[in-house]
Amino acid sequence: MKYLIKFRLGKSVFDRAIDPRFYVEDLQKLGKAEIKIIKENIPEPDEEPSDEHCFEADIVLETESSLEEIKELLEFILEDGVEIEILEGNNEEKRKEKNKQKSEEVPQALLENYKLETEEILSRLRNSLEELYNAPGSLELINEVFRSFHTLKGNTGLILSYSEEPNLKYIHEISHKAESVLQKARDTGIGLSQRHVEILQELVDRLDDLFLAFSEGKEEDAEDIFNLLDELSSVAEKKEEIKQGEGLPSDVSALFNVTSQYVPVFRELCSKGELNEEEEEFFRRSLITLHKLTKELGFEDLNKKIRNLQNAFGNIDFKQFCENLEELAIDLQKLVDSKILESKKEVKKEEKKTFDTSKYVSKSKYLKVEESIVQNLMDIVGELSVFKEWIHLFSNKLQKVYNVPDASKELKDNMHRFRSLMDNLQRTVLEMRMVPVSVLFDRFPKLVRDLSRMLGKKVKLEIEGDDTKLDKVIIEKIAEPMIHLVRNAIDHGIETPEEREALGKQIEGQIKIKAFQEGGNVVIEISDDGKGIDIEKIRKKAVEKNLYKEEEISRMSDEEVLQIIFQPGFSTKDQATELSGRGVGMDVVANTIRNLGGEVIIKTQKSLGTTVKLILPLTLAIRKILLVRMGDIIFGVPAEDVGEVFRISRDKVKSLKGIKVVYHRGRVLELDFVCDRLGIKSTSNGTITLLIDNSLTKGVVVDEVMSTIDTVVKPVPSVLQTPPEISGVTILGDGSIVYVLEVLK
């Protein structure tokens, strides 16, 4: 291919800090270039660009590149006086298959960033939409919402450019449509209706679903959004029609109407390049109308510009005329915008008074910190507290070994300051991991709404204490179990509106989620005022499912029977509903909470309702560890894994098909002689100590239980090869290292 590229550049490019020589260099890189400079007067770095400055050159370029590629390269100056002619070759054959979209891996850092920010945007959207619902005309709020959608659209588009993920496509579509409706509402100053806001809220709900599906790599069917989107834009148009020019001072509304009629036609005609007689006539007449109108209304600057245009029409180059016309169109638009804003301001003086600049400044009091940094800090604090013990030991050593009692005393006297600072530091660092449970609870209103709609029930949700703080890791872990419990309450607990009416209950069922701190624990209560759990039904079912024998069940108390629902594979609902099979069962709920070192308590009263109480530790950062001895080595075992400890004489150990067992509380416990596996020689003779797991199925044999400590457990350094039983290490006050065994899981 051979091209002739003509540069005829003037002041306009220098005003934009463009150096045309860069483009010449870039073109030279594409192939063989003959450059003929015609005129070159480029301003110096400190020089103000003027009409004197120019760059004119002809370049004949022989290259493999297509016309599109050259145009792309010259994009920024193409309209400022660059012409490209094809001298030789056929452009068609060079056209590359650019459309083939490859799916690439999204860079991890980018993806993390995207997820974090999207969560933030969605929660911000929910808040501002709620505010907007009460003040749908507020342009400030509309702008806030617009900006959120705008950012979401941009970010999502970015990820999409790597891979065409279907959920993201929906997210992109929704944010795009919402953005344009909001933009219109903002730019015309018309505002929104409450119905708009409702639709937007529903869309944000759907965005939530889609985003979740995206994060979990699932596919979410969201074809329903198109109805919502259609409704959104149709409501928008209707509103616009009615409100056009309405409520504005008459002069502005006239200008508004005329401008909105003429400007699109101007643009269209200008894009044609040539005019027939009729179109010329249209220009003349419309300019006269505008001339009259602006004169009447006293917009002198505009009037002058229009007069100039009238004079210029037909006398100057049409392209030039169109450029001037476009300037006028922009000025007109600006004038109309500013007038609308003025009149809005007058109407909304009240609002203006309460105008809150802080809204525009970043509101967040939060600092985003990577989780691993907090973890590092935790580790350092953990080691510091070990060091604290060392100082204490050293002060004793000063007195006894080095014989400097004065120094020892001085050190000891000042230790308490160090101690209290350390405690403070530890507390503060722990607090960094704490987040309010509202991050989880905020999901429930939508969940309850969706579920009750799906199940044909009427449910009111009450949330209390959502500012209670909990370790972030715990919050993440209890999300699924809580969703399951709420789902259970609606599905199995709350009766249908008809049933409730017949029972004389309030038609609307009630679910209450309550969080509060109690000592070193956080308690979350989920209660409903439904029909309660039918204990007799559980008895029957347990026998049917062969979990217990008839006579066993009849001997069990109601409380004990209730515990059966936590056993794997138990469900009392007669028919499988759409919901079952989607989440985790009650057994998983109980397991998850116990693994966190927590407890589940369930209380139920027939026809009055059920309350499930989750008792959770405040934090996972510091764990209770049981120190046990095997041979002459001390190991740690997480205390929450241990259900019971007891000593038993060695001769009680029986052999059952080669497996060592003991009978305990009418059950057979399988014994794990972990010291044998680890190659440690046990020192206990007559009696052994058993650590029994929470479900009373196995016992781990150790020599002795020493004590419990609260400590930070760190993962085993990866350079160390350790048996799978060892899950972490912790450091004791005297600096010795203890392996933590995960043998009861």
């Binding site: 005003d15 934009r16 860069f22 870039d26 660009p49 990820i159």
Partner: protein, 118 residues
């Protein structure tokens, strides 16, 4: 070492620009809106400025206008979207050197930046 200023209210975009340009050996400062950017631009000399248009407090076009009043020689690239043709024109009029259409990948950005800074 070349110095760049990235202005965007979206942290994702800001970081994308930062990562892309740092890989090319730039030192990159960032600002979350036009106001912040303008303050930085008054204090430091940048070889290139890359700014979003829609931003709170001070938008990209206003920033561009005020920036050009104090600096005519630093290239400014605006981040636009496909649908903002009019804003592109306005940006050109106000002295924008060029633009990058969102969404873009780091390599697209680098390509455009290299077109306007040497």
């Amino acid at each position: 070492m070349k110095r760049a200023l990235a202005v965007d209210d979206s942290a994702t975009m800001r970081n994308l620009v930062k990562i892309a340009l740092e890989a090319e050996g730039f030192t990159v400062d960032t600002a979350g809106n036009g106001q912040e950017a303008l303050e930085l631009a008054k204090k430091n000399n940048y070889d290139i400025v890359i700014s979003d248009i829609n931003m709170p407090v001070m938008d990209g076009l206003q920033f561009l206008k005020e920036f050009r009043e104090i600096n005519k020689r630093t290239p400014v690239l605006m981040l636009t979207t496909e649908t903002e043709a009019r804003k592109k024109e306005e940006a050109k009029r106000l002295g924008a050197t060029g633009w990058i259409v969102k969404p873009f990948k780091p390599e697209d950005l680098v390509k455009v930046v290299k077109r306007v800074v040497r």
